[in-house]
């Protein structure tokens, strides 16, 4: 199996120069995401404007897939409402599991670069770590800053 589908140029570029890779001082929400299997950890900051995501940033250590996915996610969800971000996660999750119909992939924009993950079931967790952290952050109540750790995910058997 070729890894070129996985490590597309856009992924490598976001890994080298992740966007929104910074701490955020005036964040409304801060959350930690961990992948207990490999020890990857990232911190996500979110600033809300009403029901919309005004700003989102992250820092942490992880593989190229988790870092690029977090970076692409921050660019994709900025300005989106909570519901829009949730819908996007749903589609993205289907994409990395390989269950998103071809016809719906265009709507994902640059997130499509992670489509190759579907052929590497062991890496689905890496690609979805930041998204799980975002969902947990959005589920927190308004104007509350807390540090919560995301629990272990079940293995991605559905993508195997």
């Amino acid at each position: 199996m070729t890894t070129e589908a996985l490590y597309q140029e856009l992924i490598l570029e976001h890994n080298r120069k992740p966007r929104n890779f910074r701490e955020m001082e005036n964040a409304d929400r801060k959350i930690e995401g961990r992948n207990p299997l490999c020890g990857d950890a990232l911190t996500l900051w979110v600033k809300m404007d009403g029901d919309s995501i005004a700003d989102v940033s992250f820092k942490g250590q992880g593989c190229a897939i988790s870092k690029a996915s977090a970076s692409l996610m921050t660019t994709a969800v900025k300005g989106k409402t909570r519901d829009e971000a949730d819908q996007l996660f749903g589609k993205f999750h289907d994409l990395v599991l390989g269950t998103l119909p071809e016809s719906e992939q265009a709507s994902l924009g640059s997130l499509r670069a992670l489509g190759g993950v579907s052929r590497f079931p062991l890496r689905v967790k890496c690609a979805s770590l930041a998204w799980h952290a975002l969902r947990a952050a959005l589920e927190q109540g308004d104007d509350e800053i807390s540090t919560e750790r995301e629990g272990p995910e079940p293995p991605p058997l559905e993508g195997a």
Partner: protein
Amino acid sequence: MIVDRADFPLLATQPDLHYLDSAATSQKPRVVLDAMMDYYTHDNANPHRGAYALSARATERYHRARERIARFVGVRDIDRLIFTRGTTESLNLVAASWGRPNVGRGDEIVVTGLEHHANFVPWQQVANEAGAKLVICRLTADGRVDVDHFRSLVNARTKIVAFSHVSNALGTINPVAELSAIARRVGAVVVVDGAQAAPHLPLVLDDLDVDFYAFSGHKMLGPMGSGVLVGRRELLEAMPPYQTGGDMIEFVGDERSSWNVLPHKFEAGTPNVGDAVGLAAACDYLDRIGMDAVRRHEQMITTLASERLAAVSGVRIYGPPPAERSGVVSFTVGDIHAHDLATILDESGVCIRAGHHCAQPLMRRLNVPATARASFYLYSDESDVDALVAGVEHAREVFG
């Protein structure tokens, strides 16, 4: 390679595979699979129970497997060799049946920063439950136990000293005799995790002054689910059982029961005869090659791999010099995450481990989130090293 790859069905049928994860689990020679097949085909019955010849044969095969494995690791009193599911269960047995009853408030348990979670978390739990203190010995910069620090930690409050014979993450070979002698002076019980030693080093456990020694069958050519605990007889006899049920009892009254003699006291339920027979066959195979030859081969291949990898720009190797490690090379390549490296290597059929190697306390001490680990065994050869190095070079191109 000092054995014929054709001896190993999985390797023989996948000639392009470079299996460099033997520290996680070894491949199995046909003689091991055949021995298990033979047992189930001809002698399978529940041992120690039936009053018929077949059950007697199963009992006999189980007994002979114990004798064979005891001989392999240099143990004369075979009753002190307990079959378990693996190193993890062996260590949990000691933690539950010796640790819990004997460790109290204010006592101390000494472990090292090198430990696999299996020889760390059970002691952390015993300490937390008892109100005792878990003390963690420092490492030197090249990933060895700091013996001076270890000496300073062991005192009259120390009840247990637990350390690995060989580190799974770095391959460091620890000075077991020296560490045991330090523990002996204060009367602490010595527990050794031998999971990475029994497959790779010649062992005479009767000559090692330790109280408990644990290892796994599946890392030494045997089947998964087979493991061993060798304990000091006096301690085993004084300890309460780990699990209760069939086979481990002497007499069961309505209110009280009494326990069977060693080793059965610690083997509740139907014994795993098939896997014991497989592990005994693995011991035959290893002894035929000779553990000195296994060790020499691994030193050669580990040194070669270390030298070749060190020549690739950006590669950093962790642990002591190769000749002083078991067949393990733990390394990082520049900023490339170990998981990405493993995915790239997998493309060319090279299987390595990437991550924290179930040794998160060690990773914190090395200040790395993860390393890549290539581990070798008697079936590894220079072509495996070539493929590994080529894959690492390719990864450097991809991640530029």
